[in-house]
């Protein structure tokens, strides 16, 4: 593994998170359109592993902070870092890191199962923990009240975690050497 390869993979996955937010929403099984951005965060972890996946997500939010419109819907800039959804944004790198970490720990499990567990732990639990704290600060609510405000979105993200598992397994079949969390 060369240093260049790691660097390029981090950069390309940061671009991939952005691209997943910019391409037209994909239809889920039951016709609900989703933006695939948080799916991108999970995939960073399950494919690149903890360190590189976390760095890719970190690079992504750093560029959003600098003013590039990379978030879904062409949003970006410093305003997002004081808005009620700030926790989710700051949680992106941690979520990707934890997803990758869990994925690496579960090396003995089948790829699809390991990725599913990792995506739920990192991409849902960890991400929502950050999201809820951020919302409670920005809107001056208790943690329980803030949690109530976001529960509606949890089922959708659980579906995304399942999709992340299927996608990771398929990518692993296609390019076993490139899935660094397993290499």
């Amino acid at each position: 593994m060369t240093q260049e390869r790691s660097l390029v993979q981090i950069a390309l996955f940061a671009a991939l998170i952005a691209a997943l937010g910019l391409i037209p929403p994909l239809a889920l099984g039951f016709g609900v359109p989703i933006t695939a951005q948080s799916l991108g965060i999970m995939l960073c972890g399950t494919v690149l592993g903890a360190r590189r996946g976390g760095l890719a997500a970190l690079l992504f939010i750093a560029l959003v902070a600098l003013g590039l419109p990379l978030l879904s819907g062409g949003r970006g800039g410093l305003g997002l870092f004081v808005s009620p959804t700030v926790g989710f944004l700051i949680g992106f790198p941690v979520a990707a890191f934890v997803t990758g970490y869990v994925m690496e720990r579960l090396a003995n499990l089948q790829a699809v199962l390991a990725a599913g567990v990792a995506a739920v732990v990192g991409g849902v639990f960890v991400l929502y923990a950050f999201g809820i704290v951020g919302m409670s600060v920005a809107l001056d609510k208790t943690l329980v009240e803030a949690a109530l405000l976001v529960t509606a979105f949890i089922p959708g993200d659980l579906v995304k975690a399942a999709l992340a598992a299927l996608i990771t397994a398929a990518v692993y079949r296609a390019r076993p050497d490139s899935v660094l969390s397993r290499a």
């Binding site: 060369t2 240093q3 260049e4 390869r5 660097l7 390029v8 993979q9 981090i10 950069a11 390309l12 996955f13 940061a14 671009a15 991939l16 952005a18 691209a19 997943l20 910019l22 391409i23 037209p24 994909l26 239809a27 889920l28 099984g29 359109p33 695939a36 995939l43 494919v47 690079l59 992504f60 750093a62 560029l63 600098l66 003013g67 590039l68 419109p69 990379l70 819907g73 970006g76 800039g77 410093l78 305003g79 997002l80 870092f81 004081v82 808005s83 009620p84 600060v137 920005a138 809107l139 001056d140 405000l149 999709l163 299927l166 996608i167 398929a170 990518v171 296609a174 390019r175 490139s178």
Partner: protein
């Protein structure tokens, strides 16, 4: 790629980016530490004036960028009407709008190059601890270059899907998309290595 800097030139475009960011930090902390409706309304009026000064286009564009927040304003108001603390709700909603508007103002009046210069200055001390600044700059440039490339490839995959199926592209289209990105990464990494890699600065 288009950045979110406003094309309407304002005087604030020429102010040093570091000073603007510092002032923004202080202002945000003050906003969040002063939970009084009167103060928040005054602050909102000040920010509104700042938006109005460069003219109508800037003003309208700036307000447009607050649109995703109206959902939260609605939620907060309903919540506080139900709990019977409408004034507190007004304070929280007002504070949120002012804080975001102020931060957007800095983004709108600071070019990407100026922001990068601040980041570079902040990261420089880390170089001593072995952080490869050139690698970070290279990665940044690659993200900016590859986001439109990957978006285009993703759109092409979606179109290919549509040519074959009647339904909208589903999640399966992401698999070839990821494989494409991984292959691209290998090719770019080889090209980068052939051109001196990330160590150029040290060899000079």
């Amino acid at each position: 790629m288009i950045s979110l800097t406003s094309p309407v030139k304002t005087r604030a475009h020429d102010w040093p980016a570091g000073a603007k960011l510092g002032a923004l930090c202080v202002a945000s902390v003050v906003l969040f530490m002063t939970p009084y409706l009167g103060f928040q309304l005054a602050a909102a009026a000040c920010v509104l004036t700042l938006y109005a000064l460069p003219g109508q286009i800037f003003f309208r564009h700036g307000l447009q960028r607050l649109r995703p927040l109206w959902f939260f304003v609605l939620v907060i108001f309903t919540w506080h009407l139900v709990t019977g603390a409408a004034l507190q709700g007004a304070m929280i909603a007002c504070r949120m709008l002012t804080a975001v508007a102020l931060a957007n103002l800095v983004t709108m009046t600071t070019t990407l190059a100026a922001m990068m210069a601040v980041v570079r200055a902040l990261l420089r001390p880390l170089a001593r601890f072995g952080v490869n600044l050139r690698a970070i700059e290279l990665a940044t440039a690659m993200v900016i270059r590859f986001t439109p490339v990957l978006t285009e490839k993703g759109a092409a995959l979606s179109m290919a899907w549509r040519a074959r199926a009647r339904r909208r592209p589903g999640w399966r289209v992401i698999v070839p998309f990821m494989v494409l990105a991984l292959d691209d990464a290998d090719n770019v990494a080889q090209a980068l290595r052939a051109r001196g890699g990330t160590e150029m600065e040290r060899k000079q």
